[in-house]
């Protein structure tokens, strides 16, 4: 009988086994460290929860309608903050995205652009809001600036990935025909990127509505200001009203935005 040539068995090399074992040990060690060193006072938390439950939960579900007008006005301000902030971010992130995209500028500039964007992304929105509240005072404009800078990091990254994914043959064809840089930008690059840019900018507006609703906690305007007052006064009925307003507005804007985005792309 002739020897059958079998496909080689998958090698389970020693190196691979050791790698798996080391990773497993590391993960287990991480969890042991986390769960043994974290101190949560369970007794107190449960005791507090039992005491507070009646005072908090039922009242959250019976919103204080007398505060509805005030809540609606601050929610409107939140929407304004998110709108102005995300529009500013959309404009700011276009040049940064072109800088960071590796098929537009040189290789080194692209690395610099990527570093700028990830540095901006590392700041949580609330930290930015703290800085801007100190700079421009406790008002809604601090919130606009915080949202604008905070969203630039993420939008710039998304935009640069879109630019990197365009069809470069169109650009080459135009170059071969002797088009200058500006003509290439307007006739080869822009038509390819605009729908997706718009789609991401609108998506970012959705995210920013959520983000700007908490900025008031550090004094940067919007409905967050009311959240912090309601929580300090233990006014859970008003908190219920605020929560309802946030849920309704966010749901409406999510719905509208996904409809618009489906139409664009």
């Amino acid at each position: 009988m002739e020897n059958l040539i079998l496909p080689p068995k998958p090698k389970n090399s020693l190196f691979k086994k050791i790698k798996v074992i080391v990773i497993t040990i590391l993960v287990i060690a991480l969890y042991l460290w986390t769960f043994t060193s974290i101190d949560i006072d369970w007794g107190r938390a449960i005791e507090r929860a039992l005491n507070n439950f009646q005072r908090v939960i039922p009242r959250l579900f019976s919103p204080d309608w007398s505060a509805a007008g005030e809540v609606a006005l601050s929610m409107l301000e939140t929407v304004f903050i998110a709108f102005a902030g995300s529009l500013m971010a959309a404009l700011l992130s276009v040049p940064l995205a072109f800088l960071a995209a590796n098929n537009m500028m040189g290789k080194y500039l692209s690395v610099i652009g990527k570093w700028i964007l990830s540095a901006v992304r590392a700041f949580p929105d609330l930290i930015l809001a703290i800085l801007f509240v100190v700079a421009v005072g406790p008002n809604a404009f601090a919130g606009v600036l915080a949202i604008a800078i905070g969203s630039t990091g993420m939008l710039g990254k998304m935009f640069s990935e879109i630019i990197e994914s365009i069809d470069m043959q169109v650009v080459e064809a135009m170059q071969a025909n002797g088009a200058n840089k500006i003509q290439i930008l307007f006739y080869a690059v822009m038509p390819q990127i605009i729908p997706e840019f718009l789609s991401y900018a609108i998506y970012r507006f959705e995210v920013d509505i959520r983000a700007s609703s908490i900025l008031g906690i550090v004094g940067a305007g919007g409905i967050g200001t009311m959240i912090i007052f309601a929580s300090n006064n233990r006014n859970w009925n008003e908190m219920g009203m605020i929560l309802l307003a946030i849920i309704v507005v966010v749901t409406i804007i999510d719905f509208a935005s996904s409809k618009i985005r489906n139409k664009i792309v």
Binding site: L30, A45, A122, S231
Partner: protein, 271 residues
């Protein structure tokens, strides 16, 4: 040359876009511009000195915050570790709780429509509530400490993770599942042998992504009394001790960058 060529084309080159589209785009552009200008007016109406004064203040801010006082670094180690631990625990719990929710919210596995719609609506509602609002409520319920913070992170990340994992499940190749079903596998067997191998790499990557989000969220949770480094930051800002606050902000920045870098490398290796 040019003269001859231009005589071939009509005097006025018609635009490639129909005039109706042009009108629509102009209208939308004007509306957006209008809302933007109104928002700018509205958000600045309480500001003293207007935007010019604000820009002048930027310099004062830099003067106040710099140089950061790095002498506080040793005192920051413990709260920073607590913050990271909060994120680890919350991500783990959310990663476990997300599995049933993600399966129930995937249209191709949960063929019973009512359950699918209920789960989907529940997840959408969950995602509308900002993390800090959850933290405020849980601090009211459980008192100041780490536990309300962890709970807020769990619920907040559950909404995101279940949605993303659910979408991953919806995009799997259905043929292996059908083959298993045809050869008499029960639902659990189908999920374990046909679905899990397809989803596992993406699932792990998404869990790491949510871990990044949780790290960023957990550094500010302390601001409302839910433990971690935000608590210290709030105190220092309350004392107007800006150099200390700047040191804390820089520590947060460095930690977030390091964790994001590690998580990115891990995710690249996974997929």
């Amino acid at each position: 040359m040019t003269k001859e060529n231009s005589s071939l084309t009509p005097k006025k080159v018609p635009s490639i876009y129909p005039s109706r589209t042009k009108k629509q785009v102009t209208f939308i552009f004007l509306v957006i511009l209008g809302i933007y200008l109104f928002s700018m007016y509205w958000t600045q109406r309480e500001m003293v000195g207007g935007i010019g004064g604000a820009l002048g203040n930027m310099y004062t801010v830099i003067e106040k915050f710099f140089p950061p006082n790095f002498a506080v670094l040793p005192a920051l180690l413990d709260p920073m570790i607590q913050t990271i631990q909060m994120a680890i625990i919350a991500t783990t719990v959310a990663a476990i709780l997300t599995i049933p929710l993600a399966i129930l919210s995937a249209q191709n596995v949960t063929t019973f429509k009512p359950i699918y719609y209920v789960t989907k609506t529940f997840l959408n509602l969950l995602r509308t509530i900002p993390d800090l609002v959850l933290a405020v409520i849980f601090v009211g319920l459980f008192g100041i400490g780490l536990f309300p913070g962890i709970l807020a992170l769990v619920i907040f990340s559950l909404g995101i993770l279940a949605k993303l994992v659910g979408e991953t499940i919806e995009s799997v190749d259905m043929n292996p599942l059908e083959a298993m079903r045809a050869s008499g596998g029960n639902p659990l067997q189908v999920i374990w042998y046909a679905l899990v191998p397809q989803v596992l790499p993406q699932y792990t990557s998404l869990v790491l992504y949510v871990f990044e989000i949780n790290i960023r969220a957990s550094v500010v949770l302390g601001y409302v009394g839910a433990g971690g480094i935000g608590l210290i930051l709030n105190q220092q800002l309350g004392f107007y001790n800006y150099p200390n606050a700047m040191a804390i902000i820089i520590v947060i920045f460095v930690v977030v960058i390091i964790i994001e870098y590690i998580s990115n490398k891990l995710r690249e290796a996974l997929i």
